[in-house]
């Protein structure tokens, strides 16, 4: 018996593999060929399909839900007023579970397979960063409501537009202005910077550090924690040790709440506390104790009380439909829709390059204020600064949107 006969793999097995491989790819090819063969020409009376892939499940699901609702409300409102270009708007929504690869596949499918008429952006910097190049390649207008990290705009995409008033590099401005305006005696002397390992929070922390130093505020602690950190006791203790008067917490989601709870456990109250994202979470007050929110500052992109175009109608209508006031996520989506609609209406037809050109040259009035963009798609407005006063999140700055005139300068201790 020859040795190689004993050792050679059985030929039938390869046949099976080959057969399966062939059948699978044949089936796939058939799908691909058939769908591109039977594509319908753009039907000028049919619905206007707008495609998007959102992280409806996964780590940011609780913020995506209101985001989707904002889109849906906008679409319904548009349709009630006669639609866009005389056609009813239809949203085609896919779920990527906050996975980059899935988001990329989703948008590829929407563009190539489903041949949607328009696109709307997804949520979070991470996803937008990987999806924006696809839209750019296929020359689709891409308005995104959430994801202001500078890297997204570093590539100078022509078709990319941000729907919030400003990108993250402008985020610290309002608070810095307030600190600069404070009488020297009240101004904090020392600051602790603590932020999550995230492009936006790290960028803003760096800006804070530099500009606060220019205002004479010394940095006594600067640490960055991993996204999967769940225990903040030691970090809180280290910050307590440094005894800063101001704490700037670059939080992304639940980590901000966990950090404050840790401060409570180690019994440390900073004189001033500024925290991003977490304070606008609906569970913020109940998670740290309602009375403990007093005097906490947070940046916002949107205020329901701001007197911008269409805002009060939006708030009223949204509250009636969903039973609660719109959150920032819902509002950002709505304004993205507004921007898209403005471009489509102004150009008068589905000409993506013309729409992009128009947006670069014009200002759109949205519920987050009048928006205009630079060549890379960065919006040129300013974000809002909010502060909790007597249990309510008031807008302190800029003046155009402020709901109160005075700041609370000192944070009361925890209870």
């Amino acid at each position: 018996m020859s040795p190689s006969a004993v050792f050679r793999p059985i030929t039938r097995r390869r046949a099976l593999a080959a057969l399966t491989g062939v059948l699978t790819t044949a089936a796939l090819a058939a799908c691909g060929l058939s769908s591109s063969a039977t594509e319908e020409p753009a039907d000028s009376d049919g619905p206007l399909v707008i495609g998007m892939s959102l992280p409806l499940t996964g780590p940011v699901a609780d913020r995506s839900k209101p985001g989707l609702e904002g889109y849906q409300y906008w679409a319904e409102e548009v349709n009630a007023k006669g639609g866009l270009l005389g056609r009813q708007v239809e949203l085609k929504v896919l779920d990527d579970g906050f996975d980059q690869e899935t988001a990329v596949s989703g948008y590829n499918k929407l563009i190539s397979q489903d041949k949607v008429d328009l696109l709307l952006g997804t949520f979070s910097s991470v996803l937008n960063l990987s999806v924006a190049p696809i839209a750019e390649r296929y020359k689709y207008l891409y308005v995104e409501p959430s994801g202001g990290a500078d890297e997204i705009f570093a590539r100078n995409f022509h078709y990319l537009f941000f729907a919030q008033p400003a990108t993250s590099e402008a985020l610290p401005n309002e608070f810095l202005d307030q600190v600069a305006k404070m009488p020297a005696a009240d101004r904090p002397k020392t600051v602790a910077l603590v932020q999550q390992e995230d492009p936006v929070t790290k960028q803003t922390a760096a800006i804070f550090k530099e500009k606060l130093a220019a205002l004479g505020v010394k940095t006594v602690h600067d640490s960055t924690y991993a996204p999967d950190t769940s225990n903040f006791d030691t970090i809180a203790n280290s910050i307590k040790q440094a005894a800063p008067e101001l704490v700037v917490s670059g939080a992304v989601a639940g980590d901000g709440i966990a950090l404050i709870r840790a401060f409570q456990k180690v019994k440390f109250t900073p004189k001033m506390l500024y925290q991003s994202n977490s304070p606008t979470d609906p569970t913020f007050a109940s998670s740290i104790g309602a009375a403990n929110t007093e005097a906490i500052f947070t940046p916002l992109a949107y205020s329901a009380a701001a007197p911008y175009a269409g805002n009060s109608e939006f708030v009223a209508g949204y509250t009636k439909k969903f039973g609660a006031a719109p959150s920032e996520d819902a509002a950002n989506s709505y304004s993205a829709g507004q921007i898209l609609a403005a471009a489509v209406t102004a150009v008068g037809k589905l000409d993506q390059p013309a729409m992009a050109d128009w947006l670069h040259k014009n200002t759109v009035n949205t519920i987050v204020g009048p928006l205009s963009w630079d060549a890379a798609g960065r919006s040129q407005g300013s974000l809002l600064l909010g502060q909790f006063q007597a249990g309510k999140l008031e807008i302190v700055s800029p003046a155009a949107a402020a709901t109160v005139q005075k700041l609370v300068y000192s944070k009361p201790g925890w209870n």
Binding site: M1, S2, P3, V6, F7, P9, I10, T11, R12, R13, R14, A15, L16, A17, A18, L19, T20, G21, V22, T24, T25, A26, L28, A29, C31, G32, L33, S35, S36, L56, T57, G58, K65, L94, D95, G97, D99, Q100, E101, T102, V104, S105, G106, N108, I111, S112, Q113, V126, S130, P133, R137, E151, A154, R155, E197, D198, P199, K202, A226, P227
Partner: protein, 603 residues
């Protein structure tokens, strides 16, 4: 002839079809799906080399994609060239990581290795994320945007990955047919035993690990370029590692095309479910589907599609021989032995145990044991259970280091010599429970034993003509000549003993340590075994036999050494030792009588 050609033709047709897809349709959704499938298939194929062939299940293979992607991306940015040019360096980096993993886990096996691979994955992800100056950390690393015409879209990525996939399959097939592959499968079945028959496991494993990772690293760079943005959490993801495992399991680990088949089934399934399911609970449903699929596959299809199909088809063919009685024929002549010819005429002790001690925690297994084994003798080692006999064997063949004292072989101290090298020097050893490589055939088992190590030999075919002939000759000698094609796991206990002996003889040993060779076999086989041993001894081989069957051992051996509680209590001729009161007390019992005409007696 045409029947044998058919599967090859079908396979070629399939590959051709896949290669033509981008030319047949501009649909980027399909292309994207196939690109991701290629990546998963390359991953699964590489994983198969480490886990399917070598038996080291890794949960960390996703790390090689990340390492390749970041290495390629960083170098491409630094040198300002296209990532496709530096992709091979991504492969080098991944191979280096795999090599370090192999070094670090030299002593860890099984569950411990799985856990270490998981820890390595997470740690590499963390290092990549925290090393912001190099990788841009959590901000993500931007790859350059492709500069070619939109008409060609994804073609470079598509064809590069398809090429890598075919290369990976070719490499896997080559390994499987080679001596390296045979050694790896031996390691998978029984690593300790493999070392003992001359497979230098550290070298084999290093090569396997590097082979497992290198093409994945290259694919990583290409993939990173394709997604144009590197994010540490996506690149070092435990879920991707699990997908790889699932793909290989579905198709059949240990086969060449199985992992590829699994990838081609799993990835499109994932894609389709991701992009067609909508609604608020879609993600939850997807998780249940993915998790459920893992459970179902491990419960119902643990070996995978290809092996199951193979078995199903094989049941229709004729079965291999089993159950034939061992012929009561004359013992053939002893096989030739170049080593013995060289050693001939040397007198004195071939093996000398010098004051060897060995402790295990509080238990002293061997306590200053000293004796010599004269060349050409059959020395018996007797004693009650727990007296240290097997431990002594383990010290001689290198499984254990002696705590104190040394072992001399052929006049030189081999205390520091490794196990595989001791096999090369001519020390062969069998086990109380015969250890064979169950997934291999009898012939492959015997041919796996090698008397020397040469790198060039690794690439050649698993069992060469000369090796097969010699193995067949040895099997004929022990009486298992008709079973060359039988699977080792189908053999009976006695048959396994004989095959194990043939395996040892393949090493051309000068000294053979037999651990209870007569235990558990019928009297006819005992007689035959005694005759085989005597024939081999007459041609110059030295034996050390541990036995409890006094008649068997006393009829064969001349020097007898008695051990009790780790110490030598008597040594001498059979008659002397059997009269020694210490031996009678500790072991034989007062009423023991050594009979004159014992079974198979030579006199």
């Amino acid at each position: 002839m045409s029947v044998a050609r058919l599967p090859r033709l079908l396979l070629a047709a399939g590959v051709l079809l896949v290669a033509l897809v981008p030319l047949l349709t501009p649909n980027t959704y399909i292309q994207n799906m196939l690109i991701l499938t290629f990546v998963l298939a390359i991953l699964a194929s590489g994983w198969n080399v480490m886990a399917g062939f070598t038996g080291y299940v890794s949960l960390g293979h996703a790390a090689f994609i990340g390492v390749g992607a970041y290495t390629g991306g960083i170098l491409a940015a630094h040198w300002e060239v296209s990532p496709l040019l530096v992709a091979p360096l991504g492969g080098v980096a991944a191979a280096l990581v795999a090599f370090v993993l192999g070094l670090v886990t030299r002593r860890t096996r099984g569950a411990a290795f799985v856990i270490v691979s998981f820890a390595m994955l997470e740690l590499l992800g963390l290092i990549t994320r925290n090393w912001t100056s190099l990788t841009n950390g959590s901000n993500g690393f931007l790859m350059p945007l492709p500069g070619w015409d939109l008409r060609f879209q994804n073609w470079p990525f598509y064809y590069a990955l398809l090429f890598l996939l075919l290369l990976s399959v070719a490499m896997t097939a080559g390994i499987r047919r080679s001596k390296l592959g045979l050694g790896l499968m031996a390691i998978r079945d029984d690593e300790v035993k493999a070392e003992g028959i001359g497979v230098v496991t550290s070298v084999y494993k290093s090569i396997a690990f590097m082979a497992s990772a290198v093409l994945i690293g290259v694919a990583g760079t290409v993939y990173g370029y394709y997604v144009s943005f590197l994010d540490t959490s996506a690149m070092f993801d435990i879920s991707l590692s699990m997908e790889v495992v699932l793909a290989a399991l579905i198709g059949g680990r240990g086969t060449v095309w199985g992992p590829v088949l699994g990838a081609f089934l799993l990835q499109p399934l994932t894609e389709v479910t991701n992009t067609t399911m909508g609604g608020a609970h879609a993600g939850a449903f997807r998780l249940v589907l993915f998790g459920g699929l893992i459970v179902v596959v491990t419960l119902l299809l643990p070996r995978g599609i290809l092996p199951e199909a193979q078995d199903f088809l094989r049941r229709r063919r004729k079965t291999s021989p089993t159950g034939t009685r061992l012929a009561d024929s004359a013992i053939p002549a002893a096989p030739s032995s170049p080593r013995l010819e060289a050693l001939a005429g040397r007198g004195g002790d071939l093996l000398r145990i010098g004051n060897v001690s060995r402790r295990f925690g509080g238990v002293t297994a061997l306590d200053e044991v000293s004796f010599g084994v004269p060349q050409g003798s059959i020395t018996a080692l007797i004693g009650p259970n727990g007296s240290g006999k097997t431990t002594l064997f383990n010290v001689v063949d290198g499984t254990y280091r002696a705590g104190a004292g040394g072992v001399e072989y052929g006049g030189r101290d081999i205390s520091k010599v490794g196990r595989a090298r001791r096999a090369f020097l001519g020390i062969g050893r069998t086990y109380q429970l015969p250890r064979l490589f169950d997934s291999l055939t009898v012939l492959e088992n015997v041919a796996a034993a090698t008397g020397e190590f040469r790198f060039s030999r690794l690439a050649r075919s698993a069992v060469s003509g000369a090796e097969a002939a010699r193995a067949a000759e040895l099997l004929e000698f022990v009486g298992m000549g008709e079973y060359v094609a039988a699977k080792a796991k189908d053999l009976s206990y006695g048959q396994r003993k004989l095959v194990e002996l043939a395996q040892i003889l393949m090493l051309d040993p000068a000294i053979i340590l037999l651990d209870e060779p007569a235990a558990g076999i019928n009297p006819t086989l005992v007689k035959r075994l005694a005759a085989l041993i005597r024939t081999l001894n007459n041609s110059g081989r030295t034996f050390v036999i541990v036995e409890h069957d006094m008649h068997f051992v006393m009829s064969l051996s001349d020097p007898v050494v008695a051990l009790a509680r780790g110490r030598v209590i008597a040594a001498g001729t059979p008659a002397e030792v059997c009269d020694d009161p210490a031996v009678l007390d500790a072991y034989l019992g007062d009423d023991f009588v050594l009979e004159a005409d014992t079974i198979g007696s030579a006199r």
